[in-house]
């Protein structure tokens, strides 16, 4: 059974027919070919498939594609402004918060939602907010450092070069 849905993906409006059996993750990866969003556990535990829906972090593997109708979806592919990386992406690079990279898009999307929330986060808050994303390569120290740095930079903002994306 197919249904037509209309949504924005990384700022671009799209209409397509999706199968009621499809997850948003399957639509993003297989139909839109945005493979930066990863398929990890498939049951909402690892956070590798995290996307932003109306600005909030969701596991796209446990989100029905039909629910995306009318929503604003953001994936890792939309985070840089051309060649210029987002504040969060830059912080992850600078802090060496990446090893194999499989979990990184998810971590960046979750952190991006934090930087755009306008709220303050302590180190403990950051750990709590990133608890739905798992990294199996390394420790979480550099990831938490990167999130802390991104939050700080986003607060100060990037000045006249600001593209509105943190």
């Amino acid at each position: 059974m197919e249904q037509k849905i209309t949504f924005t993906i990384n700022g671009e409006e799209k209409s397509l027919y999706v199968d009621i059996r499809e997850s948003l993750l399957e639509v993003v990866r297989d139909r839109l070919e945005l493979t930066g969003t990863k398929h990890g556990c498939g049951v909402g535990e690892c956070g590798a498939c995290t996307v932003l829906i109306n600005g909030e972090a969701f596991d796209s593997c446990i989100y029905m594609a039909v629910w995306a109708d009318g929503k604003d979806i953001r994936t890792i592919e939309g985070e840089s402004c051309g060649e210029k990386l987002s504040v969060v992406q830059t912080a992850f690079l600078e802090e060496g918060a990446v090893q194999c990279g499989f979990c990184t898009p998810g971590f960046i999307m979750t952190t991006t939602a934090l930087t755009e929330s306008g709220r303050e986060f302590s180190r403990d808050d950051i750990k709590r907010e990133l608890a739905g994303n798992m990294c199996r390569c390394t420790g979480y120290q550099n990831i938490a450092n990167a999130a802390e740095k991104a939050l700080q930079t986003a607060k100060e903002c990037c000045g006249e070069n600001c593209c509105g994306k943190h």
Partner: protein, 290 residues
Amino acid sequence: MYDIKSYINATSIEAAVSALAANPNAMIIAGGSDVLIRIRDGKKPQAELVCIRNIPELVGVTETTTGLRIGPATPFSKIAANELVKKYIPILAEGVSQVGGPQVRNVGTVGGNVSNGATSGDSAPSLFALNAKLELVSPEGKRVVAIADFYKGPGKVDFKPAELLTAILIDKSDYQGYRGQYIKYSIRKAMDISTLGVCAWCKLDGTKIADLRIAMGVAAPTPIRSRKAEAAAIGQEYSSELIAKIADIAVSEGKPRTSWRASREFRLQLIHELVTRAVAEAVRRAGGKI
């Protein structure tokens, strides 16, 4: 792809109830953080879904003349951030903000947590302590049941055919003047199911305990209230000695089992420790000095 046979997007309570009545195999889906995983596990082949997430009356928290009305399709993160919840029933915010992780809390709903009947649901102890009532609508009409009567066994709740949970109701008299705490013990701090959960909800009258409710998750096949421990506390002067006695009684009321997460003995120890801590903190938050 999920093994889904049909999908109906209900946009009103009436539409949802008639879709359920028309198909005895229909299954309600709201957030999907349990339902989609059961489908993925192959436990619900050829699922026939009725989606209630887009029914406006089922989402949000409102203050009525008698108390609070909580929409069951409200996600955990929205409950935790809600001003009415934070002001009147902060123990529910404390409970739901310990479910899973942030992404799961954005999608999973408080009504789903109640409807799946798990003794480990993080909203259950707080809702039991608040004497929550559930409004249920079926083709036969509307009924309101006490939450303690709704849980029938592990994963079993008292839904009649084609019945939909339409509101979680909390009376003013169950929160005015009360303060408390929910403590979740789990092996991991996030993305884990409660090994044991305790909620204490307390109202003081000077140095006396005017009322005390103790509710526990995973202490029995369903969430339970520790009625004997509560009775031993009400009307007494609060003290560490009294709390130690309450905790002993609560242990005698628990009927936990051994699972791969923890043994029965460890859970009994947790009842003692968590009741002690939660009651002491509830007394402090209610303005007592202990």
